[in-house]
Amino acid sequence: MAPTVSAIGGSARTDFIFMMLFAAAVLTAPFWASFIGAGYPDLLQKWAIYGLFAIGFNILFGLTGYLSFGHAAFLGIGSYAAVWSFKLLTMNVLPAIAFAILFSALFALAIGYISLRRTGIYFSILTLAFAQMSYNLAYSVLTPITNGETGLKVIPTDPRILEELAGVRNTAVAPTTSLFGVEMTGYPGFYFCAVILIIGFFIAMKIARSPFGTMLKAIKSNQTRMNYTGFNTRPYTLAAFVISGMYAGMAGALLASTDPLAGAERMQWTASGEVVLMTILGGAGTLLGPVLGAAVIKYFENIFSAFNEQVLNAMFSFLPEVLKEGAVAVAGLFVGEGWHLTLGVVFMLIVIFLPGGIMEGIRRVHKLFKRSDGSSRSGAAAESA
């Protein structure tokens, strides 16, 4: 590969700048997010984790065009694997992540091998069926492994063999996840997730720019033609499926690392649908889009759902009494338990007016800016993203 220009899209240099900007933006999130009321560890962790999940999903959906409706299964498998690693081995998060990736890869291989025999809607339905099957199994016959509806938890008397061998197993207090002594809650937990997000983003970028990524995009544009030219596309789609399953498993492990609890509801079809929404909302096929989509959806879920009458009254307090009551009544429909409605409206608007998601919006604004500016700067960050 030539050092200056990568296979597709931006040059190596613009990629590097883009990567640096992304890393800076992620690591300074506690700073800028506090201005929109999101500067607290839990939401920041969720941003990073679901961002990673969506990036992985996008490797499959954005590049190959295969729409999986069952990706939450891998998220759940990753979580369960991680929590079992906490219970049986050690509270250190690194083995947990390794196991989560391993198990989700195995499951992705099995599910992908079967599902990828079909394309289009049949593929989607197959993956959905497998995910629902995993969910129902976790709920019923696998209760000894998953603890059913109650959820799998760590308890002080877990074996934790590695800690036992090292003589540091403490059965008196509730164990907390750690990275060699640093507790994985609060801001340290966020920075850990953020670093993994940045690494995941970098890998996704390298995949998209590589010949392998080009192959995946070719599958998206016309698989039949690829087959006629004598190409066996199945290994490529299967590889993409497994890689994106591993991303999901890793996200599941991070969820368990920041909060050592795994429940079957993580595998429900609504969770699978959520990652599809994130990717489409942000812009399928773009690198940054899924991360933005994940951030927007998690922001709505956590911030909008928390608005109540009290908050609205304070917001509209500048209006006269009669108008205020009306404004609160109308706005009340869209916040609190109505946050789904707001999300639905936003999603509709974006799909209708910006089919390419938020990234298309950014591109349009950028173009507008460039035209009025008259300069020919190659703001490739947004373009190539």
């Binding site: 990629d15 590097f16 009321g37 209760t143 801001y187």
Partner: protein, 448 residues
């Protein structure tokens, strides 16, 4: 890695490094302060967190809980008619907020999922700076949030949660429960079942497959077996199953003459309706009428199941038709505010909020450890359940339990249950460390 060698000088790298370090360190400057305990309120107000299901299978209960919380805040701040503050035996609260601070609140949606509930509670603790989280409706969720609050170092006042584990195996020093539990349901129901259905019965359990269902099944089976009943079978059903026909058909041929439904919310409405549609209640088995028992009843569920609840026994924590002073005061101010009577979920949440405020007032601080001590062993009355004790050993309230029956001739859409018996506190009291409950509170946590 050619990419990374391009255009990065040592100087720019160092600059970036310094900026990055500053960025990493920044949030900690904001979070660190001189706090005696986590989220100590410094201004003229104090914030409470109301974490209830606003969507999902228990959304009806959640909506009613939220109404009760808002009413409680009004009364504590001295607005409205004061409700149960007038009948409560402790007179520490003066209607000027808590410790002179105006009470404010934030709300969140648990979605009846542990994940969402914990995320929502974390937001309240980390962002909104609440000193207490309260809520519930699913024991799984309540237990998950309770352990979160223990780890974070704030007080959790459990709302509607009926599993033994909440104050049993999973009890925590920072968590408190006013609502009754499955064991108490069994102890209260058994004598009534014996009086009505005799000693020689065969019971078949259908059970919601999670912590609450498990403990209720165990408690009811123990209580009925002590009467001499046999347990024919125990079948677990997934939460939110919707269609229970595949579980009900085998009951017909099992030889059982009692069906015990360990279901709640929409599950109970569906399973009961289907059991009645299958004609179970018209059958004769072993020469006896086939009967159905619903150990945990609520008026909201009775409304959902309609006609089908007539004559069916169950237990409940509180009912709006009670005639004591406290209940009357609460029903009156709730009715004036919202236009209909409160549910048992609303009642327990309202009482929990008042109890928390009262304990803070008496302790003179919001610090979880001191406040917890004020609640432990606290004896009070005037809250609708008669004389009540907050036991120190497991943070469970002990008070009378109501045995209720679906009314044959309801006079209104809310008048669906009649109180058969008010079971005295002594009959539902147990030792804190009997095998079904053995757990450890651990030590209280003040956070910071």
């Amino acid at each position: 890695m050619t990419v990374f060698n391009k255009g990065v000088s040592r100087r720019s790298l160092m600059k970036g490094g310094v900026a990055l370090t500053a960025g990493l360190a920044a949030p900690h400057f904001f979070t660190k302060g001189a706090y005696a305990y986590l989220n100590e309120p410094k201004g003229g107000s104090v914030t409470l967190g109301f974490n209830v299901p606003q969507s999902g299978a228990y959304a009806d209960e959640g909506a009613d809980e939220l109404r009760a919380y808002q009413l409680a805040v009004k009364h504590i701040n001295g607005e409205g008619d004061g409700g149960m503050l007038n009948t409560f035996t402790s007179k520490a609260l003066k209607g000027n907020g808590i410790l002179g601070k105006k009470v404010e609140y934030v709300t969140g949606d648990t979605q009846t999922k542990s994940d969402a509930a914990r995320a929502s509670a974390k937001r309240m603790i980390e962002k909104d700076g609440v000193v207490m989280v309260t809520g519930g409706s699913s024991s799984g969720v309540a237990i998950a949030v309770q352990s979160l609050c223990q780890e974070a170092g704030i007080i959790f006042m459990a709302g509607l949660t009926h599993s033994n584990d909440t104050t049993g195996k999973d009890r925590r020093a920072n968590g408190f429960r006013h609502f009754f539990n499955a064991y108490q349901s069994g102890a209260a129901l058994a004598p009534v079942l014996e009086a009505n259905y005799g000693k020689d019965r065969k019971a078949y359990h259908l059970t919601a497959d999670y912590t609450w269902g498990w403990t209720q099944e165990e408690s009811i089976a123990n209580a009925t077996e002590a009467l001499g009943w046999q347990t024919v079978n125990k079948v677990r059903t997934p939460l939110g199953a919707g269609d229970f026909s595949q579980y009900i058909t085998p009951v017909l041929n099992s030889g059982a003459d009692v069906l015990i439904l360990n279901h709640y919310g929409k599950d109970m409405v569906n399973s009961l309706t289907q059991a009645v549609q299958f004609g179970l209640r018209d059958k004769q088995v072993n020469g006896k009428d086939f009967v159905i028992v619903v150990p945990l009843y609520s008026r909201l569920m009775a409304q959902g199941a309609g006609e089908n609840v007539k004559g069916i026994f169950g237990s409940t924590n509180w009912h709006w038709s009670l005639s004591d002073e406290g209940s009357q005061a609460f029903v009156k101010s709730f009715g004036a505010e919202y236009g209909f009577p409160p549910s048992q979920a609303a009642h327990t949440c309202y009482v929990q909020t008042l109890l928390y405020a009262d304990a803070a007032e008496r302790a003179g601080t919001f610090a979880p450890c001191d406040l917890g001590k004020a609640l432990e062993g606290f004896e009070f009355d005037g809250m609708g359940n008669g004389p009540t004790l907050y036991r120190a050993d497991d943070h469970q309230c002990f008070k009378k339990v109501l045995v209720v029956k679906g009314k044959e001739n309801p006079s209104s859409q809310f008048d669906l249950l009649e109180v058969v018996q008010e079971v005295p506190r002594e009959q539902v009291t147990y030792d804190a460390n009997i095998p079904q409950f053995a757990g450890s509170l651990g030590s209280c946590n003040n956070g910071a």
